[in-house]
Amino acid sequence: MAAPASPSIPFARNLREAGIAAAIAMALAIPFLGLRTVNLDQGLVVQANLRYVPLAGLVVFLGRLVLGLLAAPLRRAVAPLAGLKPPAGAQRLRPYGGPLLILAAAVLPFLPFANRYVIDLGTTALIYILLATGLNITVGLAGLLDLGFAAFYAIGAYTCALTTTQLHWGFWPALAAGGLASSLFAVLLSLPILRLRGDYLAIVTLGFGEITRIVILNWQSLTGGPNGVSGIARPTLFGLTFDRRAPEGGHTFAEMTGIAYAPEQRLIFLYLVILALTALAAYTVGRLRRLPIGRAWEALREDEIACRSLGINPTMVKVSAYATGALMGGLAGCVFAARQGFVSPESFGFMESATILAIVVLGGMGSQAGVIIAALFIVVLPELARSFADYRMLAFGLAMILIMIWKPGGLLSGRTPTITLSARKAKSMAEATS
């Protein structure tokens, strides 16, 4: 064995640690693997089958041993990567990153490999990016932990569903209504909870998320309760629908453009709609960060008392952060409703809030690029691992733990200043010479 390969951790210690790990694994394996309930004629009985327990011990022992032996060489191999910086040229390309990414996303549905599944996955990812962009304002910038963001998502979705089915609005006015309704609820929510901070704020937002879901679930006459709302209007392009047959007095996209009807067209259009919304949201947040309001959000996260000492009204700053974040959540909800054509309360449980928060935290609080990478990771990775069926959530959890170990601040944890004096100086000098 390669015992001398790791002089810092002697082989004996590796052996001992592997032994301890194996013992723990076997102790855990007794209830997990050794006992199982079987439904026999006389009822449910517990059967002991301890065959797998030593096996689990052996696997963990070997695994821990190999890990221990590889740790030192691995660390040495990875060490030079830590000091790696992108080349200077990459910095100049930075402003083009966003537009290039949007362009790449826009051509995706027209690429040869893009089938229904890929477009659908892309739409889901974009919905999550939009949601996380919104939550990133509240959590990442303003530092207000929100565990009930799915509530705003739900309010947007249900506003869209109800205005199109009950009031027969089109998709576009319903979209606006969804965003505004979410924003309005955010203002109403934020007013009573402004005095809370940290953990208490998190608990109240958690409660708000659950209350919203439960109200939707129980308000049968309006929301249809657990049956949900169906028949939600699909998006239209200047009044053109993407149906096979035109509705009464309307026209379809296929009729007017002469392009043969294909069921994917509707999907592609929806994908492009959510892409445009997400791009707009990302651009808006990028600009807001550079405005007084965005700086006040960040200042609030850093020190609320200092904010007050400078004449900033923390109430207004918090309300604006909640409202802007919720606006984006509401828009995402609306697109979600229009894509499914159906909404029900199950889609907006705590898992949804947790997933969106995970995207923000994984990406690195306050980082837009981080949100995009993390959303792709969270949406696409479980899909790729679909063939592992039951184990995909396990793999997902493992990946999350690994990231938290190696990148505790999120994938992109650095903060870019919103303004720099050095850049300003260069600019004013350039203006003076021209």
């Binding site: 808006t284 600009r287 807001l288 550079r290 405005l291 007084p292 309001i293 700086r295 006040a296 960040e298 200042a299 850093e302 020190d303 008392i305 200092a306 904010c307 007050r308 000492s309 400078l310 004449g311 900033i312 009204n313 923390p314 903060r415 200043p417 919103t418 303004i419 720099t420 004096l421 050095s422 300003r424």
Partner: protein, 276 residues
């Protein structure tokens, strides 16, 4: 110079449950003057500051600010951020910067009140209109001026939290000055500064009070600094005001010597050694 002081505090009382932290304190602060508030630890100086700047609501008393534009304002009726908007701006004993934001950003946040309407509550800013860009440039210039005065230009783009203690103190003063205050309230600005930095601070304070026509109210334990630059000194002990006067008067006040400056010889205070 108007005959009426900029700030007129009458009968300020602050009670925390059974504890009488501040007991009927009267004090005044004038424009173009440095007023110092001294006293032993726990005398209630910072409590007075917190009442003045709206962080505490005083149990009783009247805090009258004679605002040159808005007329007389009773500060005790305003909320914390409202007091700062009248131009009474403070720094903190244990520095409160926005640590992960850069020094320049800290100074821009300080100008929030002016910039917010200029960005048309973000709408003009979102569209990057010309009016907004001009307003932002002006704000950056204001910040640049203060950075230059406090010798911070070189670290303008550094995260404020990464600076040395002395620099952070200067950033906090620069940030307070960026708000264009009427009355600058400094809570122990010289704490943790070395003698050279303290001298620079003294020069700065003496310079800006006249140049900007502001009043400066100062809590400080460095007697050398206080005696050098103050125009008027108020001494508090156990929440009550025990003396008021010019540095010369305070130095020879028996009550003050007994309570604060120290018994043995008065010239210990004049040489600037720390108080007991």
């Amino acid at each position: 110079m108007s005959t009426e002081p900029l700030l007129d505090v009458q009968g300020l009382t602050m009670r925390f449950g059974g504890l009488l932290a501040v007991d009927h304190v009267d004090l005044t602060a004038e424009r173009n003057r440095i007023t110092a508030l001294i006293g032993p630890n726990g005398a209630g100086k910072t409590t007075i500051f917190n009442c003045l700047t709206g962080f505490y609501k005083p149990t009783a008393g009247r805090l009258l600010l004679r605002h040159p534009v808005r007329g007389p304002i009773e500060l005790q009726k305003l909320k914390g951020f409202g007091v700062a908007r009248t131009g009474v701006v403070r720094t903190f004993q244990n520095i409160r910067l926005f640590p992960s934001m850069t020094v320049l950003e800290n100074l821009l946040v300080a100008q929030h009140q002016a910039l917010m309407p200029q960005s048309a509550f973000s709408f003009a800013g979102l569209l990057n209109l010309k009016g907004w860009r001009a307003a932002e440039d002006a704000a950056v210039e204001t910040a640049r001026d203060w950075l230059r005065r406090l010798d911070l230009l070189a670290v303008a783009d550094e995260a404020a939290g990464n600076l040395s203690y002395g620099m952070q103190r200067r950033v906090e003063i620069a940030r307070a000055m960026s708000t264009n205050p009427l009355l600058l309230c400094l809570d122990e600005p010289a704490a943790g500064l070395n003698p050279r930095e303290t001298r620079a601070l003294a020069e700065l304070l003496v310079g800006i009070r006249v140049e900007h026509g502001i009043g400066i109210l100062l809590i400080e334990h460095d007697m050398g600094l206080v005696m050098d630059i103050s125009d008027r000194i108020f001494v508090v002990d156990h929440g009550a005001r025990i003396a008021a006067g010019t540095p010369a008067e305070i130095r020879n006040d028996e009550g003050v010597i007994k309570a604060y400056l120290g018994e043995p010889d008065a010239d210990e205070a004049t040489t600037g050694t720390e108080s007991p």
